[in-house]
Structures are given as C-alpha cells and as structure tokens.
C-alpha cells in the first residue's frame, strides 16, 4: 500500500499463477532486492541456514508468528469444516468483508488499536451482516448467493468509507487499521497470540462438547428442530465462533485471504474424510500444517509475506488431496475409469469370440483370430493385443501357432453372461419399452457391461425367462447347460455375482 508504485501491478503473478508454481519459484529464486530494505542490508544467509534457524525456534518474532498461525489454522480448520459441509463457503467471504465497518467502529470506540474493542465491534457487525443476508433471503425471492453478495459489497463499502474517514480525521494516529485490511502475520505480538489461543480453545471446547448436536443440526435442521435441539441457537453459535475466527485471522491473513483459511483446509479434509469427526481432525491438521509451512517458507527468503504463503501452502495441500485422495481424488477416478474401460474392452472381445462359435453352431472350440479381426473390423495386431489381455486374465488360452484361441471355462461363462445381458436388454427394450427392434443394439452395447446380477434377475422375471432375443437369436444361459444351442454353460458351478457391476 505504501509502496511507490502499485505492488499488484508489479507482481501480477502473485494473483494468477498456480499456487504450487509460485511456492516453488519463491523458494528457488529469492525475490530481487530493493534499496535499503533489510533483506538486502543484512548479511545474506543461505536457504539451508535459514531452514536450520527456523527449527531452533530461537527468534521470538518467529515463535509468535508460528504459534499464532498454528492457532489460526486450527480454529479456521475446525469452523471451516462446518461451513464447507453446509455448503456455505460464501459466508466466510461475506464475514471477512462485512466485519470491516465493525473494525472501524471498534477503532473509533477505543480510539486506538485495542484488540478487544475491535474484536467485539467486528464480530457483532459481521454477524449482523450474515443475519441481514438471511433476512434478505427470507423476505425476498433472492437466493443465498445474491443476498450474500449484496451484504458483502455494501458492508465492505461502508467499511472502506469509515476507514477512510478515520484516516483523514485522526491525523494518521490510527494507521494500524491497515494491518487488518492486509494482514501481517509476521508482526503478531504476544498479546495477539494469547487472544488467539483463548479463542481457539473456546472453539475447540464448544465443538467437542456439542459435536453430535451440531452435526445433527447441520445435516438435517428440520429433524433437529423436531427432536427439540435449539437449531437456531446452534447456528448462531457457529456463526459467532466463525465471525470471531475471521476477525482474529484477519490480522494475519488480511480481508481477502482469510476466507481461504476457512475454506481450503476444510475442503481438503472433505475430500479425504467420510465422517465428520475425522474431517474435523484432518481440517485442523491441514490448517496447522499450512500455517507452519507458510511460516517456514516465509522465513526462508527475503520479503516473503507470511499470510499469502499460508494460503498457498493450504492450496498445495488441496491440490495433493484433489489428485491423490483415495476415494474422491482425480487419480483414483482416472484409475477407475481406466479399469472399467479395460473391462469393457475385454468383455467386448469375449462377446466376439462367442459370436464366432455361435455362427458355426458351436462346432469345434477353436477361434481363429483372423475371423475375430474380420468381425471386429480391426487389424490382427489389435486383436492379438486384446487376446493377450484375456490370456492374462485367464479367460482364454492361445493355440500353439498363436493364431487360434480357446475359451477357458471361466472365459466362456463370462462371454455367455455378457451376451445374455445384451440380449435380455434388447428384449426388454422391444417388448416392455416398445422400442423398434433395430433401435436397441446400440443401447444394449452399453448396458450389457453395467447390468448387475440383481437387475438381470429382475429382467428375467419381468420377461418370464425368455430364450430368444428380438432378432431371433437364442439367449445363452449362465450357468446351467439346458436351453437350446447355447448349452455351453458349465453345470454345477454357481454364478459369480460381482457387486461392482451394480448400477
């Protein structure tokens, strides 16, 4: 703010580039110098020296900043979890902006940077902002996003005007107000940290004590109300704690970044955890880890601001969770799609093999790969690749020359199952859903792979155990070797139903 030129314009990357990239860039290319800044005047120390010094925790400024950041991470992680599961992420942003008039009023009231006056003023006004948005939602047709948007912007505007007014009228004596706008984690005092500790302890206590009731109220407020839980009061309590958390965290992270502290660690935990207690623990841990690594990286180089680095670290954790989370992650999604695609491909090959045998009325068991290639309109090489995959899965064996293939019992059962699924579905579509017979093949090509055992049984019942598909082809039976020409089912073996096929 007090620079000679607009710092944002000078460092446009600060806002736009992916977080991981910046973090790496900041670490490996220490930011260049400004004349007469401390980082350039003091002795240059290497990154490793700084890292070692960090872990001695000898510097009181570092201890304060680190401890304060850890407490904020804890508090914001816990409260952010409730915000994220209630899908109210915008509330955090609204709070962080709506508290500004309260901060200004706190300044005016105490005529100095009295943390308690500011905390009280900001919390009250922040809560008022959110309650106003609720009122807008209740009494107009506007939805939550618009209501919050209105409150966020107008409260912030009032705040800016008040801050401006204070600065003009007080001859600069209240200049500390700007630290609330932009945050300064590195300059936290012992008193600030103590306040944060008290507030985090209160949040922790409340959430631990009321966990069950809070989760019930958040999950199903109508039910919670019906069983007599004070839903309104619980919501207000969460709002109060969140508002306090925002105000306190703002000192370290600033108006713009504070909602990130609420939302990012909690979102990371949301991807990693399936249960609320675990989510709370993970969110708190991610919040504290982000805080610690933000402080650490800020300590490594010169002119590295702590607040933004904390948020960047949190964003990195999120990216890691997004990519590698065991169940909701991108990678496991890719893996699952891929394995499903492979399975579909195998099943299609098996189906072709079955057709080859069916076309010659199951006369002989050898399946020429060339014929398969002709039916599938593929090159022989491609078919060989498919067959190798099947061999690896024990579905077929290759002949000596490598030009013919033979079903294993399991392979045949699998092939019959797929063909049966296909033809059942075609029959269902034509007889029950009144599709024309020439419209159903495409659809069945997809459905055959996903029909679960339950669904197949239902189809059978609905179609009264049919034997022929709409094109007049026999529907093979799995596993009993009874009906028609498709008597290849293997007697005495039970059908394996795989749950993962279920729709």
């Amino acid at each position: 703010m007090r620079s000679r030129f607009d710092p944002v314009a000078a460092h446009p990357v600060c806002r736009t580039v992916a977080p991981a990239g910046i973090l790496a860039a900041l670490c490996f290319f220490p930011v260049a110098v400004w004349a007469a800044r401390i980082g350039d005047v003091g002795e240059a120390s290497s990154i490793s020296e700084q890292a070692v010094r960090f872990f001695t925790f000898a510097d009181p400024a570092l201890r304060c900043a680190l401890l304060g950041a850890l407490l904020l991470g804890l508090n914001c992680g816990l409260l952010g979890s409730f915000i994220v599961v209630r899908r109210m992420a915008l509330v955090g942003d609204t709070l962080s902006h709506a508290v500004l008039p309260g901060i200004a009023l706190g300044f005016l009231w105490a005529s100095s940077k009295d943390p308690v006056a500011i905390l009280v003023g900001a919390t009250l006004v922040g809560m008022a902002g959110v309650l106003v948005s609720h009122a807008i939602e209740r009494t107009t047709r506007l939805k939550q996003d618009s209501a919050l948007g209105i409150v966020l912007a107008s409260f912030y505007a009032i705040g800016i005007c008040l801050v401006d007014h204070i600065q003009r009228s007080s001859a600069g004596k209240m200049s500390g107000i700007k630290s609330f706008l932009f945050g300064q984690a590195s300059a936290l005092s012992e008193a600030d940290v103590l306040l944060m500790a008290v507030i985090s302890a209160v949040s922790l206590l409340v959430i631990t004590l009321l966990r069950g009731s809070l989760v019930t109220a958040c999950f199903d407020s109508a039910f919670a109300h019906a069983i007599g839980l004070p839903v309104r009061a619980l919501e207000r309590l969460l709002l109060l704690l969140t508002a306090v958390a925002v105000v306190v965290a703002m000192q370290a992270a600033g108006v713009v970044l504070v909602s990130a502290l609420l939302v990012i660690p909690a979102s990371t935990a949301y991807l990693l955890a399936d249960r609320m207690p675990r989510m709370l623990v993970i969110a708190a841990l991610v919040g504290m880890l982000s805080a610690a690594s933000g402080a650490f990286f800020s300590f490594l180089g010169n002119h590295l601001p702590t607040g933004p680095l904390i948020v960047l670290s949190a964003a990195c954790f999120f990216v890691v969770a997004f990519l590698f989370a065991p169940r909701h992650g991108w990678l496991s999604g890719v893996f699952m799609r891929r394995s499903r695609w492979r399975r579909t491909r195998r099943e299609n090959t098996l189906k072709t093999f079955y057709k080859v045998l069916e076309d010659r009325q199951f006369d002989g068991e050898d399946i020429a790969l060339l014929t398969v290639a002709q039916i599938r309109k593929e090159s022989v090489d491609e078919v060989v690749r498919r067959v190798r995959d099947l061999v690896a899965h024990g579905m077929v064996t290759l002949g000596d020359e490598g030009e013919t293939a033979y079903f294993t019992p399991e392979g045949l059962r699998e092939a019959a199952r797929i063909v049966r699924n296909h033809r059942l579905w075609e029959l269902y579509l034509t007889t029950v859903a009144d599709y024309p017979a020439d419209h159903v093949h495409e659809d069945a090509e997809e459905i055959e792979h996903v029909l679960g055992a339950d669904m197949v049984r239902q189809l059978e019942r609905r179609l009264s155990f049919p034997t022929e598909d709409p094109h007049g082809k026999p529907i093979p039976v799995v596993p009993e070797p009874v009906v028609g020409a498709a008597g290849f089912g293997i007697a005495g073996e039970t059908t394996e139903h795989r749950d993962r096929f279920r729709l």
Partner: protein, 317 residues
C-alpha cells in the same frame, strides 16, 4: 433525497468538507480581494505554496495530515476543487500514484499544472533500481532539494498572478533561503550523533533522500512484494541487524502500521524512538518546543525539525 445527499456527505464529504468550505469562501473573496485559489496535493507542497504566495493565494491542500499520498484516491469534492482552482501544484515522480492521470487530463484541458519535482535536476534524483521503474519521489527529505522546488512554485504563481510577480519572486527567494538554512541546521544536528549510531530504521522507505543528504543509513523493514506486509525473515533480519550494530532506536512512521516496528523493538532491545512524519506534515497548529521557541508541526519546516529532533534524541540517548 436530502437524506440521501446528507448520507453521501458523511462518507464522501470527509475528503472535501474542510477544503470545500475554504473554497466557497475563496470564491467570494476572489471577487473582492483578487485572491486566487490554488490546489496543492501534499501538505508539504501546500505549506510551500502558502509561504511563497502569502496573502495573494488561497491554498487548498488535498491531502491532510496523516494521509498516504501513494494510495490517495481523489473524491468528487477534490475534482471540483481542482477544476475550480487557478493552478495545481503536485509532487510528481508518481508520488500521487492514483492521481497521475487526473493531472494529465487537467493539463490537457489547459489548466496550469505544476510538478514541484521538476525543479530538481534529474542527476540529483535517486535513480530507479532494478525493481522500481520510477525515481524515488520523497524529495522533501533533503531540504536543499526542496529549496530547488521553490522555483516551480514561483513560476506557477507568477503565471496566474502576473501582477504580483515582483512580490512573489522576492518571497520565493526568502523561502528557498529558509529551506537552505534548514538544510544546514539539520546537517549540524545530525552531526551531533556519533557516526556509528547513524542508522534510521523505519517501516518503509520514505527517508532515502533524508539519509543521503545527512549521512544516515536508512533501512526499511517492509517488503514491497505484498501490500505492506513484511515477512518473518525480514523482521528477524532487522533484529539481527540492530543487535549486531548496537543500534539504540527504531522509528515508526505516521500513517504506517506500527506493529512490525514494535515487534522488532521488543525483540531486539532497541526502543521505539518515536513517530516520524514521512509523507505528510502534522496538523497545523500542533506545536512543539524547540530551543525556547514554538514550532508548528503542520509546516514543512516544523515537520523536518520535529523528525530531526526525534531522531537525534533517540540515537544519542
């Protein structure tokens, strides 16, 4: 409607209420006394114009005490004042970052607009370093340079008041001389500080000219890389620096966040030497005692003297 206007007045008016009243008065007086109304941006410039112009001009200072010129955003009242004025004096060198385009527009429309920094020979400016594209604009830190700027004000005022040229030139010479005397006084006062203690540690970098002119090593803690936030390592390094060189005091700047400096003072054992006026003077009428006479912190001379006395007292303690 009236209520709405009144409400607007509360918020917008804060920027123009004091100056707005003065301007209305000026319009009346102009017809009677032939005084002209001119606008100055910072309070240092306003003081210079007031000193040179004397009774011939009404000076409207846009930025009051404690206002940061770097991020000052002109309000509607300011624009009205600018349009109604006979001439505009601003610092230049991109000090008034957000008003630059406004001055260009005014100049294009034929309004006499003067940048006082034009009075300083380019060679005397602190050159841009590899990160900053502009020269350091805080030229008032060096009273001798500030004396050079008087020339611009003299030319500007004679432009709008050709009839009073003689008087203005005489007054201008006197003001420049007083600034040069101030320059010698500052040099003498700083000379009383032992060489090894001549460090000026503040939150940012408004004192580069001051340091260069009077032989102090100026070090600021705040990084420019984000909006006014110093990293933890900056603070720790500052503490190391202070401990290593046994620097007795650090200073807070007006209109700047004191938290970082307080933190540094606490951890390094240095004491907070006081609050310095960096980018604006104090309030007019706010005086302090110096050598038995009363000095007004609202004037340029008072501001510099107050800073110097604060620094000397802290560093020689």
């Amino acid at each position: 409607m009236r209520a709405a206007a009144a409400l607007c007045g509360i918020f917008l008016g804060s920027s123009c209420s004091d100056s707005g009243v003065a301007r209305d008065g000026a319009v009346h007086e102009q017809t009677i006394d032939k005084r002209v109304s001119v606008v100055a941006t910072t309070s240092m410039i306003a003081d210079m114009v007031r000193s040179v112009g004397g009774d011939f001009v009404d000076v409207i200072g846009l930025m009051g005490p404690g206002i940061d010129p770097h991020d000052y955003t002109p309000g509607a009242g300011d624009v009205v004042a600018l349009n109604g004025s006979a001439a505009v004096f601003y610092n230049g060198l991109h000090l008034e970052g957000r008003m630059g385009s406004l001055f260009d527009k005014l100049a294009d429309s034929g309004k006499p607009v003067f940048s006082v920094a034009d009075g300083v020979a380019p060679g005397k400016l602190i050159a841009p370093d590899n990160d900053s594209q502009y020269h350091d604009p805080h030229i008032w830190g060096d009273a001798a340079l500030w004396a050079d700027c008087v020339r611009i004000v003299v030319e500007g005022l004679t432009d709008v008041l050709p009839a009073k040229e003689q008087m203005i030139r005489e007054r201008g010479a006197a003001v420049a001389a007083s600034y040069l005397a101030l320059d010698r006084w500052v040099a003498a006062r700083i000379a009383t500080v032992p060489q090894e203690r001549r460090f000026l540690l503040t939150s940012h970098d408004a004192f580069a000219y001051f340091g260069r002119a009077y032989g102090l090593e100026v070090v600021g803690v705040e990084g420019i890389s984000t909006v006014g936030e110093a990293g933890i390592s900056d603070i720790v390094k500052m503490i190391d620096f202070i401990v290593e060189r046994k620097i007795p005091a650090v200073f807070i700047e007006s209109a700047s966040n004191p938290d970082a400096i307080r933190r540094i003072a606490k951890d390094s054992g240095a004491f907070v030497g006081g609050e310095l006026f960096a980018d604006a003077t104090g309030a007019l009428g706010d005086t302090f005692e110096l050598d038995g006479s009363s000095v007004d912190k609202g004037t340029y001379e008072g501001m510099i003297k107050f800073n110097v006395e604060t620094i000397v007292a802290a560093l020689t303690r």
